[in-house]
């Protein structure tokens, strides 16, 4: 099946986390988490960021924790 038909390209899988295996998803590292937020502060869906389901769960949890501590915004006006 060609990439065009599936609508997904393998290049989407390439992410910050795939390129550096030592990175740990942690709420104490807001600089890393910012890469997975839109410019309005929303969490980017996995189908767009190309994260695995497990990574997306970890990112979601970490972002929500970081928001509690005002390390990341809930919304950006």
């Amino acid at each position: 099946m060609s990439e065009e038909k599936t609508g997904r390209s393998s290049k989407n899988r390439a992410s910050l986390l795939a390129s550096d295996k030592t990175l740990v998803i942690d709420y104490k590292n807001p600089q890393l988490l910012k890469a997975f937020l839109t410019d309005r502060g929303k969490i980017v869906p996995a189908r767009i960021s190309g994260l695995t389901a497990r990574q997306q769960r970890q990112i979601t949890k970490a972002v929500k924790r970081a928001r509690m501590l005002a390390l990341l915004p809930y919304t950006v006006a």
Binding site: G7, Q31, A35, I48, S49, G50, R65, A70, P73, Y74
Partner: protein
């Protein structure tokens, strides 16, 4: 609850004689001075002692700009605590934080279950406590805008792909 359960992990699933490792991040008002931080730390050390807990690590992340104002404050001093204790330590620790007026917000996370207390010695010394009261000399470097732009471009271009397919 009788007196002898103080400092114990009250869970039938946990192994006997083990403790839990927790971490708490505290945001203090920006006008809290060195003595205020030391006072808080010393008071908490008494709490830890009374509840058979052990402070493993404490860090001062310095004064940071908050992503949104908390109690009308736009900046705050971040303190990071890591400690070992039983089921009751978090409740008591947080009760003391609520009383303290210089604390804007706190958040506790359980790091690990079933920790053998003898395997985790405390790194706390009197010098370290003095260092905690002083904010770190070098603040966090600001994020490089170049990186953020690159990420945003990547996501927006992916958006276009999706629209093309549907």
């Amino acid at each position: 609850m009788s007196e002898n359960t103080v400092g114990q992990v009250l869970s039938v699933q946990s192994r006997k004689g083990t403790k839990r490792e927790y971490e708490t991040v505290i945001i203090l008002r920006p006008n809290v001075n060195k003595n205020g931080i030391l006072d808080l730390v010393h008071r908490m050390q008494v709490v830890f002692e009374n509840f058979g807990a052990r402070l493993l690590k404490i860090e001062n992340w310095g004064s940071r700009t908050l992503a949104f104002p908390i109690k009308r404050s736009t900046t705050g001093i971040y303190l990071y605590w890591r400690y070992l204790g039983g089921s009751d330590i978090v409740a008591e620790f947080e009760r003391n934080l609520i009383i303290n007026e210089s604390v804007l917000r706190f958040y506790t996370v359980k790091v690990e279950d079933d920790v053998d207390p003898s395997a985790r010695p405390s790194e706390i010394t009197e010098d370290l406590l003095q260092a905690v009261a002083e904010p770190p000399p070098e603040p966090e470097p600001p994020p490089e805008p170049e990186h953020e732009d690159r990420d945003r471009d990547r996501f927006s271009s992916d958006d276009d792909d999706d629209e093309g397919v549907s």
